[in-house]
């Protein structure tokens, strides 16, 4: 680690030093502080989920399984999935980066409902605690999908407390989405028209639509599973006259759009990274904005592709297959626009850009293999194999987690006022990329060769690829621990960042780092388009070295 001498903090009043003490954090209504509270929560859950992932990969080192028996293995992958999906991937980017940045980017003092925002954090943690309680009491083994009648009748594990935890955490999602929607509609600064909104905000707007429309459905569905289990009712249980396929419809009506809850914010971050570090106006602003909304809307009509072999009608499967192809179009539009933005841009290879480029590559891999799966015939072959596992990990880990880390690096100077160590961060980004591909690429091959998912053992010919995957996972773990360590280090020892170290064009870069409690000394009046690099002569060029504060003129002429 390079020995940068700690620089004296320049004393401006900001959201971090305006008040001290535990209660000033636990009772804060400042969206920036709540963003950091979420950062602590989701990081915790990330490591809980990661712990189970570690156990899974260690177990699968040998064909007969090294660590646990079959029943325990079922619990391992269930808890990995449940914790990661509901308590990390879904909330991570919106609640941490979205909370922190949406008001800043639109020039508002806060979200529309600050107390509701704080309440969302408590609700999230209450749900999370119930989940941890279920894990501590012995866990659950239903898979993250909670399919009845197994979940409601046969499983002997802690299903009720787990679904209650997800039910409660769901309200945190709903309220966050509601808060974002209202904020974007009513709190924009003068001159910040819809056509000037950063695409980060557009993507979060689209995400919020899914939060608001989808989450209530999973809430009521899991509530029904809980009720069915407690009172032995037959809503989904065929032996009592219920319909198990109904559950799958309701579950996937939310859980497919939930994939876009996870990836749209990742696209949001990537769009900002690509344009900033290409120092070029984003290619096709309108298309990218519209693509976000299109993904949110079409995403609600493709859920049946999870049920090709679940007994839905053949015609339904055909329609869902075609619609699933359709949803690839807006995603592809985004990828093409990012690529066109890179073309002839003055690209700088800062750490966030490495993550941004990593996102594009891995997202394309995940997306293209998604097309294999939406093809009815191919899906029947690879259904429930490691091919599917690899596919969604490319989207969720390669996409969402990469973007989340890229976003954390990019806005860390804004959040903390300090820079992270650039060299080490680049190294970690490369380690992550290599570790990720080594972990999950072999799983594509495994799935194609026919290794089924969710089994605690496998035939010996799959061992080489499994060992490769486990080796990759341990490299990946190093890649996750490094940023954790140097972010904490940089909070005290990192060089002072200044208001706009990259420089970026969003409103968030026009205020101090860290921002004052009410975000802006004077409410900004926006007279320029998003990403207007060509006309922003106030931004020094080329990008200054981190730690150097470029001169800021305000307002820009």
């Amino acid at each position: 680690m390079s020995a940068v001498p700690p620089v004296e903090v320049e004393h401006h009043e900001n959201y971090l030093n305006t008040s001290y003490g535990v209660w000033s954090w636990l009772l804060t209504t400042d969206h920036k502080r709540i963003g950091l509270l979420y950062l602590v929560s989701v990081t915790f859950f990330f490591f809980v989920g990661g712990f189970f992932a570690t156990l899974i990969r260690l177990h699968l080192m040998t064909p007969q399984g090294t660590l646990v028996d079959a029943a325990t293995y079922n619990k391992m992958f269930t808890m990995h999935g449940v914790v990661m999906v509901f308590f990390f991937l879904i909330p991570a980017i919106p609640t941490v980066l979205g909370n922190f940045l949406v008001p800043l980017m639109i020039g508002a003092k806060d979200l529309a409902f600050p107390r509701l925002n704080l309440a969302s954090w408590y609700i999230f943690n209450a749900g999370g605690l119930l989940m941890i309680y279920s894990v501590m009491r012995g866990g659950l083994d239903t898979g993250w999908t909670f399919y009845p009648p197994y979940s409601s009748l046969y499983s002997n594990t802690h299903v009720v407390s787990a679904v209650l935890g997800i039910f409660i955490a769901g309200f945190s999602s709903i309220l966050t989405g509601l808060n974002f929607l209202v904020t974007v509609h009513t709190m924009r600064a003068p001159g910040m028209t819809w056509g000037r909104l950063p695409l980060f905000v557009w993507s979060h707007y689209a995400t919020s639509i899914i939060f608001v429309l989808g989450t209530p459905v999973i809430a009521i569905t899991l509530a029904l599973v809980g009720i069915e289990r407690i009172f032995h009712l037959g809503i989904f249980d065929p032996s009592l006259g219920g319909d198990p396929v109904l559950f799958q419809h309701l579950f996937w009506f939310y859980s497919h759009p939930a994939v876009y809850i996870m990836v749209l914010p990742g696209m949001a971050v990537t769009t900002e990274l690509i344009t900033t570090f290409s120092r070029k106006r984003l290619f096709g602003y309108g298309f990218v904005a519209a693509a976000s909304i299109a993904i949110a809307v079409i995403g609600f009509f493709v859920w049946g592709h999870h049920m090709f072999v679940a007994g839905q009608s053949f015609y339904a499967s055909m329609v869902f297959s075609i619609l699933s192809y359709l949803v690839a179009i807006p995603s592809a539009i985004k990828v093409f626009n990012w690529t066109a933005t890179l073309y002839k841009g003055s690209i700088s290879w800062a750490t966030p850009m490495l993550y941004g480029l990593g996102f594009i590559g891995l997202f394309v891999m995940g997306g293209m293999t998604g097309l294999f799966l939406s093809a009815l015939g191919v899906d029947v072959h690879v259904h429930d194999t490691y091919f599917v596992v690899a596919h969604f990990h490319y989207i969720m880990v390669g996409g969402t987690v990469m973007a989340y880390l890229g976003g954390l690096h990019y806005w860390w100077p804004k959040m903390s006022g300090r820079m992270y160590p650039e060299g080490l961060a680049k190294f970690a980004a490369v380690v992550l990329f290599i570790g990720f591909n080594l972990t999950f690429f072999p799983q594509f091959v495994l799935g194609y060769l026919g290794m089924p998912r969710r089994y605690h053992s496998y035939s010996p010919e799959f061992q080489v690829l499994n060992v490769m995957s486990t080796a990759g996972a341990s490299i990946l773990a190093v890649g996750y621990l490094l940023p954790m360590a140097y972010f904490i280090w940089s909070m005290r020892y990192g060089p002072i960042a200044g208001p706009n170290p990259w420089p970026g064009t969003g409103l968030e870069w026009l205020t101090a780092s860290p921002p004052p409690e009410k975000n802006f000394e004077v409410t900004p009046v926006v007279t320029w388009d998003a990403y207007d690099f060509p006309n922003r002569h106030d931004l020094k060029y080329p990008a200054p070295t981190p730690g150097f504060t470029p001169a800021q003129t305000w307002p820009p002429e």
């Binding site: 003092k109 409902f113 429309l213 209530p216 029904l224 407690i230």
Partner: protein, 215 residues
């Protein structure tokens, strides 16, 4: 008292922006409620589609007349709620308090009737998962009717209880003269919520009581 500066939260520019935000927030909340109730209604529809005869037979345990009375009570409460909103817009304190009180009373009447119906079902041993016996071969399927009956009316009653509690808070504040023509958003938005809960019942009544009425 035409201006109420204490009502403006500091992150808003003015009361108008604050009101826009609150109103949109309530509408979006109601959309989430539609999705929430929509899940149970889909479940109901599926079960009824699979077991039409059992649903028809079981629906005779719910008295359409009592349901109709309760429907009338709720519609009246929506009227008094609308009048309360009107009074708050004009800043008429006493009518506002009166209409809010009337709405609360009507809401409580509805809940009391509901409680009577529920206790009746307990006496008739048609509570699935607790005490259930139903004559004939369709007992298993009829249980699904009652499951949905309790889930849907229970969910609705929970919303009613929350609504009555919210109106209670409004009543106290209205008594203190907090609401003026310049600031009465809470009354308006609670009104929106109340009407929504009312409309849900308008759907529940035919779904649960009137399935087999023509026979």
């Amino acid at each position: 008292m035409s201006e109420a500066p204490y009502a403006l939260q500091e992150h808003f520019r003015d009361l108008e922006q604050q009101k826009d935000a609150a109103t949109l927030g309530m509408w979006i909340f109601l959309v989430t409620e539609v999705m929430f109730f929509g899940g149970v209604m889909l479940s109901y529809s599926t079960a009824r589609y699979l077991h039409p005869a059992a649903f028809a037979a079981a629906s005779h345990y719910s008295d359409p007349l009592i349901g109709a009375i309760n429907t009338a009570v709720l519609i009246c409460s929506s009227l008094t709620m609308a009048l309360a909103v009107h009074a708050s817009q004009l800043g008429e304190r006493k009518p506002l308090v009166g209409y809010l009180a009337a709405t609360i009373v009507l809401g409580c009447v509805f809940l009391a009737v509901k409680a009577y119906e529920w206790s009746h079902k307990f006496h008739e041993h048609v509570v699935p998962g607790y005490d259930f016996s139903f004559p004939g071969p369709e007992a298993r399927s009829a249980a699904l009717y009652f499951t949905h009956y309790f889930a849907m009316t229970g969910l609705h009653a929970l919303h009613m209880v929350i609504g009555v509690a919210v109106l209670g808070v409004l009543l106290v504040r209205a008594w203190k003269g907090r609401y003026t023509p310049a600031y009465h958003t809470p009354v308006e938005l609670s009104g929106l919520y109340w009407h929504f809960v009312d409309i849900v019942w308008i759907f529940l009544y035919p779904l649960l009581y009137l399935i087999d009425i023509h026979r």
